[in-house]
């Protein structure tokens, strides 16, 4: 039987770098409310922060949206974090290539290590954020594109602390 409380939160905000850590703390409280264990709360908070920074960096109209759902489907408790923003065609192409490469790598940790080696001697940009979500937060990632709007979702199977 599930001990996770189904819950949903949606935030729409103007990109502001300072806001991201504030939102991370807020959603950590939200995850704790949903009775998720401490390690999972930490994983989800990390994923939320990385997704928000990704959205803030890439938004074309200064606005980003994050939706978080804690739900039980078919007896399985899961959390889905979705960030949505509009962006440029160039950024969409970069994201598509990144997801293509990432999805082709079957082992998230090995891919993360590969990116770390690749990025270590590059002066600018990390490109580590999404790979970090897959590896450290142990979440599946998905990219949806509709026109100039991109939606990146991260999904985790969770266990309750009860």
């Amino acid at each position: 039987m599930s001990n996770v409380k189904p819950a949903y939160v949606e935030l729409r905000f103007r990109p502001n770098v300072q806001l991201i850590s504030t939102v991370r703390r807020f959603v950590s409280d939200f995850y704790e409310y949903a009775l998720i264990d401490a390690d999972t709360v930490s994983r989800l908070a990390l994923a939320t922060h990385e997704l928000l920074e990704n959205a803030v960096r890439n938004t074309a109209n200064q606005e980003s949206r994050v939706c978080i759902a804690v739900e039980t489907v078919g007896g399985v408790d899961r959390v889905i974090i979705r960030t949505t923003n509009s962006t440029t065609p160039a950024n969409i192409e970069i994201l598509k290539r990144l997801f293509q490469e990432m999805n082709a790598a079957k082992d998230p940790f090995e891919y993360y290590q590969l990116l770390m080696k690749r990025t270590a001697r590059q002066p600018e940009g990390s490109g580590l954020g999404l790979a970090r979500i897959r590896s450290e937060a142990e979440m599946g990632l998905n990219l949806e594109v509709a026109g100039e709007e991109v939606c990146i979702s991260a999904t985790a199977i969770v266990t309750s602390k009860g």
Binding site: V17, Q18, I20, S21, R24, S42, S126, L128, R132, E136
Partner: protein, 126 residues
């Protein structure tokens, strides 16, 4: 005794305090290392590698006990620093000892990734 030529970083929500006791450089991080603090952290870590070599230090201790969070951009700053250490001749390489806060669960995952990246150089202490 020579002194460390690196200034601390003190901004809202993030502090980085480097100290040197004549043998070991210690860097204590507090708060949230994110996009807001990234430029200052980068500037500090850029200076850290040459200072370690100038002072012929064999170990740098990075204290994460007060660090609530580190984003991937700041994490990459550490990856770059470790890359410079890896590029040194083996006899000139130095250890990076990370002091982990077990209550900050993300730290064990991030530090495990760093340790696997440079297993010969990284020590993690809980």
């Amino acid at each position: 005794m020579e002194t460390l030529a690196i200034d601390p970083v003190n901004i809202q929500g993030f502090n980085a305090t480097p100290t040197y006791d004549g043998k070991t450089i210690r860097l204590a991080l507090k708060g949230s290392a994110d996009l807001n603090s990234k430029p200052m952290l980068d500037a500090m870590l850029e200076k850290m590698h040459p200072e370690v070599l100038r002072l012929a230090v064999r170990e740098v201790v990075i204290d994460l006990n007060g660090l609530e969070f580190m984003n991937s951009s700041c994490f990459k700053s550490f990856v770059s620093w470790i890359g410079k250490d890896q590029d040194l001749e083996p006899e000139k390489q130095y250890k990076l000892r990370f002091l982990q806060n077990a209550r900050m669960h993300w730290q064990s995952r991030s530090l495990n990734a760093l340790r696997c990246f440079a297993v010969e150089l990284i020590v993690v202490e809980v």
